[in-house]
């Protein structure tokens, strides 16, 4: 396969950046998208050019590190996968592929396609936990039965990999799907219910402070989310927040 890549190049946070065009050849359908990026970089290095910086680690769709906006969609055209799980068989010979970083005020570009997603960590640090110390003396794990339905829903919310594709795809660069996934997970479990009020208030406050946009329920996030986190979670967080807003002291 022969392709034309249009890649965002930006040498650092203060550089203005621009799209640069790279032709590439001999790409096979069985290659992953990041294998293709590796090939490009090998070529660039040998030619003495600066390779394209992009984030990646596990390359199996679970660490949430990879984060490319490919042809106008977060993680590319395929559904329910991350960039590293995208395979070149989804493209056709001669195609032009735009590759850009996640765009959001809360995700400043570090270099080329690499952005700083620390804002998501800070949201987590403001409430994405159950305040339980490690002791080995908590109650037995089976002491509190949890309905399978709730446990499964909590699990589904908890599969969020923190990639930020939701933010990247949202017209408003809103982080509601990410935040609601954690709020939901913990609100569904008896262990998390205890701090539910403060959690949702604090996490939403931090989310707002970090400069994410407001949700207008476009639903783009859930479509592009590699883990298919559902909009149910946003609705649940809206309920939780309502309760919290009216009852907190």
């Amino acid at each position: 396969m022969k392709l034309t890549l249009k890649i965002w190049r930006q040498s650092g946070p203060n550089d203005k950046g621009q799209i640069v065009t790279y032709p590439i050849d001999n790409i096979e359908g069985d290659m992953s998208f990041l294998d293709m990026m590796d090939v490009l970089n090998e070529e660039l290095i040998v030619k003495g050019e600066d390779p394209v910086a992009f984030d990646h680690d596990c390359r199996e769709g679970i660490c949430g590190m990879c984060s490319l906006f490919i042809n106008g969609e977060a993680h590319g055209p395929d559904r329910a996968i991350t960039t590293c799980q995208l395979h070149m068989r989804k493209f056709s010979d001669g195609e032009t592929i735009y590759i850009e970083p996640w765009r959001a005020k809360a995700f400043p570009v570090i270099k080329d396609l690499v952005v700083d997603r620390g804002a998501l960590d800070r949201v987590m640090a403001s409430g994405g936990f159950v305040s339980v110390n490690t002791s080995g003396n908590t109650v037995d794990a089976n002491a509190i039965p949890i309905s399978k339905i709730d446990a499964d829903k909590a699990f589904e919310a908890a599969t969020c990999i923190g990639c930020g594709a939701c933010v990247a795809s949202c017209v408003n660069a809103s982080a509601m799907l990410f935040v609601s996934a954690k709020v939901s997970q913990l609100a569904l479990l008896p262990q998390g219910k205890i701090e539910a009020t403060e959690r949702v208030l604090n996490m939403v406050r931090t989310m707002d402070e970090e400069g994410f946009g407001n949700c207008t329920n476009t639903g783009a996030c859930a479509v592009e989310c590699p883990k298919e986190i559902s909009l149910d979670n946003i609705a649940r967080m809206n309920r939780e927040y309502f309760k919290a807003m009216l009852t907190s002291e």
Partner: protein, 667 residues
């Protein structure tokens, strides 16, 4: 050869840990505030340690090279975590988990450590549930279990195929809470490049800020290395791209012994290699062997036809399938330990029965499980006369609920639907049992330097059982290190802050800087990956699933040559003081190039087959691994003296008071 002191407490096996805890020294809460601890790594081992230590009141500085602690490779663990809860009432107990783990490790692990691991395993589950980890549950609301290789009880707790993710996010949550409180200073995108020793004690590290490229000094009263495994020495492995040995190797070079480097786990069920450009291999969880049956065609012609695309696996009837694990190991069948399953697959492929275009794959088939579940479901739906199509659909739903994400992963990579056609799998490097030598306290041979999780060598002997690494990482971090480190830090309550202006810090930083500059100045013609791939090939061919003296000697010579070539011809673009992933890789590969040689040397030295280490010279007539307990029942701990080839071997004799050593049999 010196004798290593493993500091195992005296007393009965089942009393050691509790009496140890009762007698160690503690640090009072006010003093903990004056003590800094560096934790390198935020995986299960490092993340849990950071959280637990910060909760206790220590000031923790945590490091990871990714952009967030949540991305450590523990996130990728799929299948589950063991714990001796005996919730299923199937006869499990602390002793049985201990026994299975030692046996699974082919009797090359330290009894006392493994027993402690089994003892604290139950607390891990309690702790994780309290944190909100959504483990799989049954309809009654209680926790569900599945079985894993190498045991005959169901003791594995899981969260679909994402157990590692859920556990890591639990630890990350606990860390986040402490980060929010300021008790953990989190240094993301920081890579430890050296350990700083002051008066022979570990007192800090030099780390490179991967965003700005600057070298930074960090001091502490103790340093914990929890940097994961070194499987990436093989280039292709199920590890993450960034997984590396550097932190462990740097402490090794500073005086920590490196134990059993040759013990590598090759996991039997990974998606086979597809092409030259592949950068990474993907695991298909061992839990799949609960329901999948492994086979190759019985007839060579059929295998050939499949390889050439003239035949499909679904064309072959059960009579013409060789379910080789069930055939060779009737007692454990598809659930034999990993090393055994991997070698059996390799044996079939070497004999020409392999499938896939490369001939390097076997089938993992769910058809009969899908049918079985489908029939069960149909019966529950009172649909006794359901057609086979309906039954298969119902069954597929059940399988989807159990392994949906794995099947999806497979589908996306291979572009074949595993609900309809068997998966192709092949062994791949997955885990490294070897690592930094530690004593019972998890302290390395450097005072004040600890190693936990996959980075240490401690609990899995020559082969790790499935679902035991997660258990070990969390046991180390949540329940062991917080006690053992206090005993050491009790001496440091009056030390005060350690200055990073000490000459030792300056010197170490200069050394690191010199090394980086040396690499940057080579300005050769080949990329870092080029060397890494070549190293990987040498390792896989000669230090992989089957090893022999000749191959190992060859590998040692080749690696030495490759290392020289690397230092004369590698090309690293960009600058030192900027975001430069190629430089990061180069820093890692230079350590792999030394480690690889030590692995071969260790493999050469160990004239027996045990667990993941299979020496072709030492096998039974049936091709099973043959241990030599008289000569090799020891931990090989290597001391660095300047070159891997000149490393000095120290032996820690393994004493088994509670378990009788027998030839492992899963027949």
């Amino acid at each position: 050869m010196s004798i290593l002191d493993s500091k195992i407490p005296s007393g009965e096996l089942n009393q050691k840990w509790s009496s140890y805890k009762d007698h160690i020294r503690l640090v009072n809460p006010a003093n903990k505030r004056n003590i800094d601890i560096i934790v390198v790594g935020t995986g299960l081992a490092g993340g849990s340690a950071s959280a637990a230590l910060a909760e206790l009141g220590y000031n923790v500085k945590s490091f990871c090279f990714q952009d967030s602690p949540r991305r450590a490779h523990s996130i990728a663990a799929q299948g589950g975590i063991n714990a001796a809860k005996n919730y299923q009432g199937d006869g499990d107990s602390v002793f049985r988990l201990f026994y299975d783990t030692v046996k699974g490790g082919d009797y090359r692990a330290r009894e006392a450590n493994v027993y402690r691991l089994a003892e604290v395993s139950a607390s891990i589950i309690d702790q994780c549930v309290a944190q909100g980890v959504p483990f799989a549950r049954e309809y009654g609301g209680l926790l569900d279990n599945r079985s894993f290789g190498g045991s005959q009880v169901s003791r594995t707790f899981y969260a679909k195929g994402q157990t590692g993710q859920q556990l890591l996010l639990g630890a990350y949550s606990a860390m986040s809470r402490q980060i929010g409180k300021g008790k953990i200073q989190m240094y993301n995108r920081h890579e430890m490049l050296d350990l700083v020793l002051v008066d022979g004690k570990a007192r800090g590290i030099i780390a490179r800020n991967l965003v700005t490229g600057s070298l930074e000094r960090f001091s502490a009263h103790a340093v914990v290395i929890a940097s994961g495994g070194y499987g990436n020495v093989f280039y292709l492995s199920t590890n993450a791209m960034g997984s590396n040995v550097s932190a462990a190797w740097k402490v090794h070079k500073k005086g920590a012994y490196f134990a059993n480097p040759c013990y590598t786990q090759i996991h039997p069920t990974c998606i086979p290699v597809s092409g030259d450009h592949q950068s990474k291999l993907t695991l298909m969880s061992e839990s799949l062997r609960n329901d999948g049956r492994i086979w190759v065609p019985k007839n060579l012609e059929d295998s050939k036809a499949i390889r050439e695309g003239r035949m499909k696996p679904t064309d072959i009837t059960d009579e013409n399938k060789d379910f080789f694990l069930e055939r060779r190991y009737p007692a454990f069948g598809n659930l034999v330990p990993r090393d055994v399953a991997s070698r059996a697959a390799k044996e079939r492929c070497d004999a020409g029965f392999g499938v896939n275009t490369t001939g390097e794959a076997v089938y993992l088939d769910f058809a009969s499980a899908i049918e079985r579940y489908g029939r069960e479901k149909a019966r529950m739906n009172h649909d006794g006369e359901a057609s086979i199509e309906i039954i298969m659909d119902l069954g597929a739903e059940v399988v989807k609920a159990k392994y949906g994400n794995l099947f999806q992963m497979y589908y996306k990579i291979v572009d074949q639907d595993p609900y309809k056609t068997p998966m192709m799998i092949y062994p791949a490097v997955h885990y490294t049992m070897g690592g930094v030598w530690v004593d019972y306290n998890l302290m390395t041979t450097i005072t004040g330097c600890y190693a936990t999780g996959e980075a240490n060598f401690s609990d899995h002997g020559a082969n790790r059982l499935g679902a035991s690494a997660l258990m070990q990482g969390l046991a180390d971090g949540y329940f062991v290190l917080p006690y053992t480190i206090a005993d050491y830090l009790a001496d440091d309550i009056r030390t005060g802050k350690i200055s990073t202006d000490l000459p030792e810090f300056v010197q170490t930083e200069n050394d690191v800087k010199a090394n980086i500059e040396r690499l940057m100045n080579i300005k050769g013609t080949k990329t870092v990956d080029y060397f890494h791939k070549r190293l990987g090939k040498i390792m896989w061919d000669k230090v992989g699933m089957a090893r022999n003296a000749e191959g190992l000697n060859w590998a040692i010579a080749e690696i030495q040559k490759l290392r020289e070539e690397f230092y004369s011809n590698v090309r690293i673009p960009g600058t030192v003081d900027s975001f430069n992933p190629e430089l990061d890789k180069a820093n890692r590969v230079c350590d792999f190039l030394e480690l690889g040689e030590l692995m071969a040397k260790d493999a050469l030295d160990r004239e027996e087959s045990c667990g993941g280490h299979f020496r072709e010279e030492h096998q039974t007539e049936e091709g099973e691994a043959q241990r030599n307990d008289d000569k090799y029942a020891y931990v090989a701990a290597w001391e660095y003296t300047g070159k891997p080839s000149e490393a000095i071997l120290h032996k820690e004799a393994l004493v088994f008071d509670n378990i009788k050593l027998v030839q492992r049999s899963y027949k």
